[in-house]
Symmetry: C2
Subunit: 336 residues, 2 copies
């Protein structure tokens, strides 16, 4: 049996489609008696109006595009959870895409959103779009889609686009200061490619803290990987094997931390006795197990909530100036 339509309901209620529509939307004037009768029949038949037809007719849509690079990374899982918490309440539909950090998939996701005429996009870029051409291209695509966009987590400095970011600079800066305060001077850092904005930002937090304390930075202690565990693991092995190695290491995201801890445990060493670790992001498993690493906490669920709120706000006020929400991080210190 195919789906009922508004026409079926109208017929059965002995009214016109228009009236049924008014009842459904609670719009216009409908006499109480008519309304009741129509509602009754709708209920009886478990009728629910087609979102597709409604969207076409109204020229709007209830869909929000959501795209993240690694949907199986709990960090993004939590963001998504924060988002759904609010979309659910607002009757918004989430179209989810996963890009595996590939530009091509990023592109396809945006095409999909365009075809579906989404009302807004929650976007964590797959790559950093530092390449001039890629960047121009991306900006053009957003121009074409022409709906509100909120960038999450990875700030690629798009003109006139809202965003929600963590204050990673501050997090790393404070973590570094905390280590220095605890007497560490030989501090290493495992970061990603320092050409990339995200990595640069974090690196600056480190450098600033070190310079302010008048502590020289040793080139050999600065490792530039790619934010993934494997790379971090290999870099960490080298670092840990150095003759004169750091007494503390800062890792710049949760994957990096894991790579480091793996290299460490392979040597039969552990934190914080053999070396101190200060990581970015909570790692739930380790925390549960009482692992003594220190971390900079970032509330991903909150990021999700803020992002969708920003988007909804922008949908309501398309003309308002660009807004960026920067979420503070928090140091969780176990032992330095």
């Amino acid at each position: 049996m195919s789906n009922l339509t508004i026409m079926d309901i109208a017929r059965e209620a002995g009214v016109s489609k228009a009236t049924v529509s008014r009842v459904i939307n609670n719009s216009g004037a409908v006499s109480p008696r008519t309304k009741e009768r129509v509602l009754e029949i709708i209920k009886e038949n478990k009728f629910s109006p087609s979102a597709t037809a409604r969207n076409l007719s109204k020229g709007t849509s209830s869909a929000i595009g959501f795209v993240v690079p690694e949907i199986d990374n709990p960090f993004f899982g939590e963001i998504l959870r924060g988002v759904t918490e609010i979309t659910d309440k607002n009757n918004l539909t989430l179209i989810c895409c996963n890009t595996d950090d590939e530009r091509e998939k990023d592109r396809r996701a945006l095409d999909l959103f365009k075809e579906n005429r989404v009302r807004g996009i929650l976007y964590t870029p797959a790559v950093d779009y530092t390449d001039k051409k890629d960047r121009k291209n991306l900006i053009r695509i957003f121009d074409e889609i022409n709906v509100p966009v909120v960038v999450m987590d990875r700030n690629i400095n798009l003109p006139n686009v809202d965003g929600v970011y963590f204050n990673d600079y501050q997090g790393i800066y404070e973590a570094t200061k905390a280590l220095i305060g605890a007497g560490h001077t030989k501090i290493g850092i495992i970061n990603a490619d320092l050409e990339k904005p995200l990595a640069r930002d974090r690196q600056k937090g480190f450098t600033d803290a070190m310079e302010q304390a008048g502590i020289p930075i040793r080139e050999g202690y600065i490792l530039a990987g790619d934010f993934h565990a494997t790379k971090s693991y290999h870099l960490s092995r080298e670092l840990l094997a150095m003759e004169d190695r750091p007494t503390a290491v800062i890792t710049c995201n949760n994957r990096t931390t894991l790579g480091f801890l793996k290299a460490l445990s392979e040597r039969g060493e552990s934190v914080p006795d053999d070396i101190v670790c200060f990581g970015l992001d909570r790692i739930e498993t380790l925390e549960l197990l009482g692992n003594n690493y220190n971390f900079i906490e970032r509330d991903a669920m909150k990021m999700g909530r803020e992002a969708i709120k920003l988007l909804i706000n922008r949908m309501a006020f398309p003309g308002r100036p660009k807004m960026e929400v920067v979420l503070d991080t928090k140091l969780i210190i176990n032992k330095l």
Copy 2:
């Protein structure tokens, strides 16, 4: 500037809407010259046809509903990843919902899917629907929506509905046998409420293996929690504090394992020296760190892939008999 329509393209190309439509869909006959011209103009204008209008017109949809209870649990994150891998290739749109294990949200997700006239649903139930009334209700809802459904992971035995499940029974059964084979006789198990089908299934794997080996099962070693870490933690504390405690413990999902390991590490004890642990599901973090627990591996990404394949197949062959895919698990043994 609002979106272009097929009419704009038609006008500019000097043809009718029908022709443009044929070009877009590669359907019907269009002269090569016309086709080329139309394509040219489409490209120039970055035109992409409205999925909404197309869906309404064709009476179909490109959307698949995806609903899981805990989107920030990496297990479901991986399932989702497996799903997107295939939907991306088939130009299917994923509408994601998160239910937090709440029946009410489960219900709302299905309503949403109905309104959006999705073509199919990938469904992990929020609750087990053992309650007769709830169950009837659910079946009725699916009847109303009347599109293919594939249940994932949690088998609630819906009549005539496809599903993809792991062979948890076999996993636990083999794990238990492995423990017995290594000489353990005092084996505990941390499971969920044994009234629930999921838990019962796992429990049976345990019981069967023990009985076949002629080993008596001690009531006190059987803990029934709820598949969450906190509950497991509390139960584990009691278990570990017993005078005559087990030498090995089986934990029935990743959360349960964490709760157990937490209770253990709090006592200053660790696996496998103080007690052996055999868990269901890999825990990436622990593995990376070389933690010596044993686990039953379940390939969640594969579950995602199989589920969407089953759904696509069912969409193509609506009349075919019910199919269930049961994925084998695999023992990963470190030290028993």
